[in-house]
Symmetry: C2
């Protein structure tokens, strides 16, 4: 047999491996260290009581013949899709149940969505970016062009009529930069996509961190988006499901290419290469949308937001340029003049015992920047910011 040769074109990803090695070496040399980890985008707070209760109840159902559940419906149980439908309705977005696909997380769906598109599409991907967008397209041999996100445009790249793209990835609130598109900016992207017969793959995994009322949580809040966008969302950051695995993808009937509904292709893809999400997990996700569940997950998000606020205040006080923090669990800041992202990583580890993520690991435009996350504890976040202030305050 012959292997997929496109895999040879993937860049080896040593980012988190290198971080782990450097931290291990430091720890060995300094056994009495007090390292604070702000590098990883994983949550740390436990699942909320409403979710735990739903899980225990569903587990008990699985223990009895009369209430046992076998294979899930391909697109997910109606009870969960109705809850998601209700969540969108609150923002004025009307969806049919058949337009909602329950999956095992945004990463799987964002990765697998490329299956339904031809290999000769041109793909536009922001730089810096979550590496999955690039890697999944390199794996299928697609032409990738980059959208420059940088200090000048606040890390929110905008469409350029001179650039022709068929598939456009947008992530808002952004990983890694925390920057968020406003309505006018998203409208410009929708207009570009409609004019150029392009599709926008909109990653909304961090939407629940948005605090400003005027910022869109869903691209479908923008007129015309149903005709040109696919939206990916997740319970990972909304409800701490990183270790539970559940997300959803929305493809409206209005998204049509050459007379074919894109929804139909994804439905066929999922029916063929996926077999539904765990029943207990779907009941847990349903519980997130109850009044009790919504209040509880908001409390957890507010905990992380308070951390982000501590970081935002510290960076403002230090006078260091940054994006994110207000509508996102990430702070993306400039490193001191003359340092690379990795030099700053070493500096911060050695001088302040704080671990973050070098921006250059997310693309060339990330060089000179650094990502810190708000997913730790309040006490450690405060302590880390005190250490940074001593180091960086001008």
């Amino acid at each position: 047999m012959k292997l997929n040769q496109n895999y040879a074109n993937l860049q080896e990803s040593y980012l988190f491996l290198t971080i782990a090695k450097k931290v291990a070496a430091y720890t060995e040399a300094h056994p009495d260290n007090h390292i604070i980890r702000m590098g990883i985008g994983d949550v740390t707070q436990p699942l909320v009581p409403a979710v735990i209760e739903a899980m225990h109840k569903a587990t008990d159902e699985m223990a009895h013949k009369e209430t046992f559940h076998g294979y899930s419906p391909d697109q997910g149980y109606d009870f969960l899709r109705e809850a998601i439908q209700g969540y969108y309705a609150k923002r004025g977005v009307a969806l049919k149940l058949s337009e909602i696909f329950v999956g095992d997380g945004a990463k799987s769906d964002v990765g697998n969505i490329v299956d339904i598109f031809a290999d000769d599409n041109t793909v536009l991907i922001p730089d810096p970016v979550y590496p999955v967008y690039v890697d999944t397209n390199v794996m299928s041999g697609r032409k990738v062009i980059y959208l420059d996100a940088n200090e000048q445009n606040g890390f929110l790249g905008m469409p350029d009529e001179n650039v022709k793209a068929d598939i456009i990835y947008l992530c808002s609130p952004n990983n890694p930069t925390g920057a968020v598109y406003n309505r006018a900016q998203l409208k410009a992207w929708v207009d570009y996509a409609l004019k150029n017969n392009a599709v926008i793959l909109f990653d909304a995994a961090y939407e629940s961190f948005i605090t400003h009322d005027d910022l869109p949580h869903s691209i479908f809040e923008i007129e015309g988006a149903k005709k040109c966008a696919i939206e990916f969302c997740s319970f990972s950051k909304t409800a701490g499901f990183t270790g539970v695995r559940c997300g959803y993808t929305v493809i409206c009937d209005e998204l049509v290419s050459d007379g074919t509904k894109v929804n139909t292709l994804w439905a066929r893809r999922q029916a063929t290469k996926f077999n539904g999400v765990n029943y207990i997990t779907q009941r847990a996700a349903e519980a997130v949308f109850t009044d009790e569940g919504q209040q509880q997950v908001k409390d957890v998000i507010n905990y992380y937001r308070a951390n982000a606020k501590v970081m935002v205040d510290a960076f403002k006080e230090m006078g260091v340029w940054f994006t994110g923090g207000e509508n996102s669990p990430y702070i993306w800041h400039k490193v001191p003049d003359g340092m690379t992202s990795w030099e700053f990583f070493d500096y911060l580890l050695n001088e302040a015992e704080v671990v973050g993520t070098p921006g250059s690991g997310f693309g060339k435009n990330g060089e000179g920047f650094f990502r810190l996350t708000a997913f730790g504890t309040l006490e450690k976040t405060q302590e880390a910011m005190e250490r940074l202030k001593k180091l960086l305050k001008k």
Copy 2:
């Protein structure tokens, strides 16, 4: 954007939809019916106590910060991979942990494995067969050739040196025929694959139904298989996890193509397009391998096996040709002379109120055959066989 045009070459799958419609129409016309359903391959017995206990315990861990689990390791937790490793060791198959990939079910992995192979491989697929093998290759535009399985070869096709194939799908115990390859037959396939530089994709989802001690549960029990095979297995039928979603795929380091370890490509694929299995589910799967769990899941399988035995005895008594039943939850039998599979479906529904699956739905060689499953209750299985005997006994 352009869609993947290969999807237009997929055959629409109306098999289970048509069955559902016919059953609904019959039910409406006969409100007082006593239909027995033996058509679907889903399990009906609840999860065993050891699994339920593990799930409750893991759920409680997720409720507390100190024991909460976020993202799973890409290939699964060591505790589960060690349990799987131990399960293989009992059959004399030594595996490294890095050769075991925990996934969300055999269907996902069997479907997604095509990602790592070039599109210009020739694929050999048995007929009749589980439709996923064909559809996933049609989706990527690969050339598919068919391996005839029929009454003459006991629905166990064997290699033909005149046929050149790069990727070979084998499913044993087979879905839909219940036929099982013996060691000599699998050895012939391994020899063919090694000689022709082909890879065998071995679907062992039904291995736990094997009762005869001399039949192989894993292709890795055959010498040389580590150099030419990938094995897919699942907890769906072993432990009733169809609604829980967990499986595992084994790719040994010895499987190399042009100097590249296939294991490395699959690891990269999974790290990019998958984000691990639910922690609670992995703990549940671990519990399947404890002494208590093994005994409990064996009891459930023995329940289904007893149903299969009732079916085997009935078909022997009726003198109707069949495969399966002894080492499989499926009975695959000939329909009466002069009838098509669909005609027999209608006949059985109308005359005996028993629902099965027409063999022609699994490929052209399935015409004239019919699949019945052992996943019902003992009482209904016995009743169904009494009705069949009245109808078919010569």
